[in-house]
């Protein structure tokens, strides 16, 4: 609560980003104490890491200080307090937290918990609910992530004309950053391998597509920060990343269409193979792959766009400083 208040009241945006990372970490530790391993995993990867990084890149372009508001927003405060009061009054009637006979725990949750192993056959119930029982919701999430990536491209697509001049500047600096570059080169394949492990181990432990995509993107972001955008785009070129993002969503949707064509309902994996359990396994594997591809590609798109703009701005500032001598 103290961290949340500090986030709202502080005007220095850099400190706000640090506080947001700490808030993400505290949320992850709450989930750990509540024994929710998958959620803690995702919160640690996304909230504490990637969000902070992306916001830092954005702040490096917009400046560190938030402008003071012109007048005190009393009406907004009144509306928010009224709504919060009504909400508190509304939820005061609900059952206590974590009671076993509350209605929400008796609706579909017992069926998921009891029948998941028999119907789907993977130990991790979170993955089975996310990928099979509620596959349509997860499809919506993947499409939302894809749309965010497309929005960033539409708004921030940087021009690629002045990439040649930057390459000359970046190549002369190997000696100065030697230690960190060598360590990054050593660590990079292992981080990618760990991302693959998390992707395919999601059936048995915490993991799955979302976390794996974020870890993959974090490795590429580390490489890009230290070696420059031109080297990173040699492997992960703009068109490849956009293609992978779209291909992930397409893969997910095509599993649904395939089940339709094979005689089942939309996203009914039982129709995919001879036995229902094998069909469920194939369906979950393919859609997790689609989710991982899209999440990794969209994170890379967002970071590359921000990074390119930040580099252009820094170059422009440096030229302006040199002009003014």
């Amino acid at each position: 609560m103290a961290v949340a208040i500090a986030i709202v009241r502080t005007r220095d945006l850099f400190a706000v980003t640090m506080l947001l990372s700490i808030y993400g970490l505290l949320s992850a530790s709450f989930f750990v104490t509540l024994d929710a391993v998958d959620v803690a995993f995702t919160e640690a990867a996304v909230g504490a890491g990637i969000s902070g990084l992306l916001m830092l890149v954005a702040i490096s372009m917009t400046g560190r200080k938030e402008a003071k508001p012109k007048r005190k927003p009393f009406i907004a405060l009144l509306v928010v307090s009224l709504t919060a009061g009504l909400l508190f009054y509304g939820i005061s009637d609900t059952p206590d937290f974590a009671l076993a006979d509350a209605p929400i725990h008796n609706h579909v949750a017992p069926r998921y918990i009891q029948d998941s192993m028999a119907e789907i056959g993977i130990p991790n119930i979170v993955t089975s609910v996310l990928a099979s029982y509620r596959a349509f919701d997860t499809f919506g999430e993947v499409v939302v992530i894809f749309t965010a990536g497309m929005g960033v491209i539409a708004l921030l697509s940087a021009s690629s004309e002045n990439t040649q001049s930057k390459k000359a500047a970046e190549n002369t600096l190997d000696q100065q950053h030697l230690v960190i570059r060598v360590v990054t080169k050593i660590l990079f394949p292992f981080i990618l391998l760990f991302a693959l492990y998390v992707q395919f181990h999601g059936d048995f432990g915490p993991g799955g597509g979302f976390q794996a995509g974020v870890i993959f993107a974090a490795a590429v972001i580390l490489y890009t920060m230290l070696f420059g955008l031109s080297k990173a785009t040699k492997v992960f070129s703009q068109s490849l990343v956009q293609f992978v993002a779209a291909a992930g969503v397409l893969l997910y949707a095509s599993v649904g269409i395939a089940t339709l064509l094979l005689g089942g309902r939309f996203f009914d994996y039982n129709a995919l193979a001879q036995t229902p359990v094998a069909g469920q396994h194939i369906g979950i594997l393919v859609i997790e792959l689609g989710v991982g591809c899209t999440v990794a590609a969209v994170m890379m798109i967002i970071f590359f766009s921000f990074h390119e703009l930040a580099e252009q701005e820094r170059q422009a500032n440096k030229d302006k400083n040199r002009e003014s001598l």
């Binding site: 995993f41 640690a44 902070g52 950053h177 981080i191 998390v198 040199r322």
Partner: protein, 101 residues
């Protein structure tokens, strides 16, 4: 014994937070946050053993990586001229264009 070690790590984290709040310069704060992160990794491993859930070790690995990448990111983008490219022109040194690691 694990409980004693967990409590000691909690105390170390609280002390690191104190330095993060106090530290006069930016680098003190970055150092304290980095230390807080590595203690968090140890804490997650210990809690995993306490609660009998070996899956927490995956979270510990992920958070160790995220901690590292965040510190590098902060140094690069905090405007303190870390990780930027040094200009090889004649008049860059004398104007306070700081060296950027």
């Amino acid at each position: 014994m694990i409980i004693a070690a967990t409590l000691a790590i909690f105390a170390a984290m609280a002390l690191a937070l104190l330095r993060a709040v106090l530290g006069p310069s930016l680098y003190d704060r970055i150092l304290a946050v980095n230390m807080f992160g590595t203690k968090t990794v140890l804490l997650i491993a210990l809690l995993g053993f306490l609660m009998g859930r070996p899956e927490f070790l995956d979270i510990a690995i992920v958070y160790a990586l995220i901690n590292f990448i965040s510190v590098i990111g902060v140094l690069r983008y905090s405007g303190s001229n870390a990780f930027q490219h040094e200009d090889k022109t004649q008049d860059s040194d004398s104007r306070g264009d700081k060296w950027i690691p």
